[in-house]
């Protein structure tokens, strides 16, 4: 349905006495998102846009999009945006913030972009304590290029380049970038969230809000990992993909705060930071 048709239908319903209880935030544009139905990107975009709207910082925000599924993020956020080369968003954002300290700067990256080709930029931006907000969407796979192995692909998980499952002897271990970054003094807030159900969405939004509030206070780097399904890449229905994510991704990538206000969060032990990776069986 075109936007004007949606608008007309909305008017029709309001005229019939319906009340509007849920509406698109103005920080998202009217562009139709290209994301696969059921993917977490759309939800995550909306949460960021709501936070920008609620904090009243739309006119001061600059986003940096990656190469990957969310390469076109700049079409969906109604804020100034830069599209970075593959993996380089943290370097790009570093300069945007340093030269424009009054701007709110956020990066939006996937696991291939942030944890493979952009590992150096990610670690060094975090280690410098850049006062930016980094959003990291982890779905354990390269979505846009057709479902190849990512650094975050689980042991045993099938992908286009691990057709018989990821093998540790061949491909090494899944990389927990978020736990790694939590150990650096430059990070102020490090958390892992997910968006597969309303409860998770509410917590994810609170985390994103905190990450932007920290930037307002000049506290250093805030890092929010969002677990998402990749139903297309995993070759499952969205519902099955969310269930599989809970059963398999979450034991490898436990959800919750890892570092809050510059300190390792309560209950986060050394053992928790260096969890074993359980073998995953993907049918």
């Amino acid at each position: 349905m075109a936007n004007k048709d949606i608008e007309a239908r909305k008017q029709e319903l309001l005229n019939q006495g319906y009340t509007e209880v849920y509406t698109k935030t103005k920080v998202l544009t009217d562009a139709v998102m290209h994301y696969c139905p059921g993917c977490g990107h759309g939800t995550t975009h909306r949460l960021i846009a709501e936070v920008i709207d609620e904090m009243g910082i739309q006119d001061k925000t600059v986003g940096v999009s990656p190469v990957g599924c969310s390469v076109l993020a700049y079409n969906y956020f109604d804020v100034d945006f830069q599209e970075a080369a593959h993996g380089r968003a943290p370097a790009v954002a570093t300069a945007v913030k340093r030269l424009n300290p009054d701007c709110y700067v956020f990066t939006y990256q996937g696991d291939g972009d942030l944890a493979a080709i952009g590992t150096a930029e990610t670690i060094h931006a975090a280690n410098r304590g850049e006062n930016i907000t980094m959003i990291f969407v982890n779905n354990g796979i390269y979505g846009m290029t057709g479902g190849q192995m990512a650094p975050t692909t689980l042991v045993g998980m099938r992908s286009a380049t691990t057709p018989y499952g990821r093998r540790v002897d061949l491909n090494g271990y899944p990389l927990r970038m978020t736990e790694l970054l939590a150990t650096l003094p430059g990070t102020y807030y490090v958390t892992r969230q997910s968006v597969q159900n309303p409860g998770a969405v509410r917590k994810a939004k609170a985390a994103i809000r905190k990450a932007f509030e920290n930037q307002k206070l000049g506290k250093g780097l805030s890092f929010v990992e969002i677990l998402s399904n990749c139903n297309s890449g995993w070759k499952m229905t969205p519902v099955a993909a969310n269930k599989w994510m809970e059963d398999n991704m979450m034991p490898n990538y436990p959800v919750g705060d890892i570092k809050v206000d510059g300190k390792i969060a309560e209950g986060i032990t050394a053992e928790r930071l260096v969890l074993d990776h359980p073998l995953t069986v993907m049918q």
Partner: protein
């Protein structure tokens, strides 16, 4: 700093010119023989005077992408490096050209290939003007031949970069970077105010006021038809540069039987060889390239009509000579002379090469 006579290194001149020309940011990574650029900036602490940001990145890959991020906000942002580091920056350079982001990059060339040597060389000509990264793009490329030009060309580079929304490369070499010469400084140009930034770079991503749509900096266009239109726009821009922004210098070319064609350090050596030739009664001139892209094709062709031979002098295996031959359509005998590995040819060698390869 008003106009003063100073003695300094070429690399220091780059740093001083960045501060004096109102540069907003510099992002770099140490590499010989250009590390004095960032060292000078760090020692000068311009963040306390002009407000310029200076940051040491974790790699050249990172520093060129910092240039991308900062310059895409409509500020004057620069970096410098030497050959291996510039190779690492090629991805960033093609993105900068593709997103039409004005910025300044300095390459103080050293010998290659690979890790090569730390001594001067001019073997990055192809990389600089034939597209070091992927895709059809050009960097406006200035070749300074003195410490004074290292300084002056930074100012010129900002004018061209913002006039055309294009990256500008200052292609120098280890000899000019390391040698000390006198130079006249210029009056400081203050960094742009917020209003001036908005005026010079209305396309910049610095936060969207309610009065306009969001600005997007990207080099991505998934629609082939639109990408072709964009490519044509870039080509038109490069054609305009070829028409309006060519720079070169001719010395003693009017009555010359033979000319040297050279740029940067080699042009200084060729100048001396020219004087030695004249003392021997051989009428030699020098055609010095100042812009390598755009190449002074028409102007060189005009001079070439009147001479019997051309010796290209370049510290390489012969890269610039290809453009010289294209310019003259091979209508005049043209040969190359160069040394490798950081060896700087002597004027005597250059004159001998002229006599043996061209005159004989």
């Amino acid at each position: 700093m008003a106009r003063e006579l100073k003695l300094m290194k070429g690399n220091e001149a780059i740093a001083q010119a960045m501060i004096a020309s109102g540069t907003d940011g510099y992002f770099g990574y140490p590499i010989t023989p250009q590390s004095e650029v960032m060292e000078t900036l760090m020692a000068e602490k311009p963040w306390e005077t002009t407000g310029m940001v200076v940051l040491q990145a974790e790699s050249e890959v990172s520093s060129i992408n910092m240039v991308y991020g900062g310059a895409a906000t409509g500020k004057k942002v620069a970096t410098s490096s030497s050959s291996p580091g510039i190779s690492l920056m090629q991805e960033g350079l093609t993105y900068l050209a593709g997103a039409e982001i004005p910025c300044v990059i300095v390459n103080v060339m050293r010998g290659g290939p690979g890790l090569g040597t730390i001594q001067p060389s001019q073997s990055d000509y192809f990389q600089s003007v034939k597209g070091g990264g992927h895709g059809d793009y050009q960097l406006y490329t200035l070749a300074p031949a003195s410490v004074q030009e290292m300084y002056d060309f930074v100012f010129d580079a900002w004018d061209i970069a913002f006039k055309y929304r294009n990256p500008v490369l200052i292609l120098s070499d280890g000899a000019i970077g390391q040698c000390m010469e006198k130079l006249y400084t210029r009056d400081y140009i203050p960094r742009w105010t917020e209003e001036e930034r908005r005026q010079h770079a209305p396309w910049g991503t610095f936060g969207k006021p309610a009065s306009r749509g969001h600005n997007i900096i990207t080099s991505l266009e998934l629609e082939s038809a639109r990408q072709e239109v964009f490519n044509l726009k870039l080509q038109a821009k490069y054609a305009e540069m070829k028409e309006k922004e060519v720079r070169f210098e001719t010395i003693n070319c009017e009555d010359a039987d033979y000319i040297f064609v050279a740029y940067g350090s080699s042009s200084r050596i060729a100048m001396k060889a020219m004087q030695m030739a004249r003392e021997k009664g051989i009428k030699v001139g020098l055609f010095r390239l100042i812009t390598l892209f755009p190449f002074p094709t028409k102007q060189l062709a005009e001079v070439a009509k009147r001479v019997k031979g051309i010796l290209c002098v370049e510290m390489s295996a012969g890269q610039m000579i290809e453009d010289v031959r294209l310019a003259t359509e091979c209508n005049v005998k043209t040969e190359h002379f160069g040394r490798f590995g950081g060896i700087i040819p002597t004027p005597t060698e250059v004159l001998e090469a002229l006599e043996n390869k061209i005159i004989k």
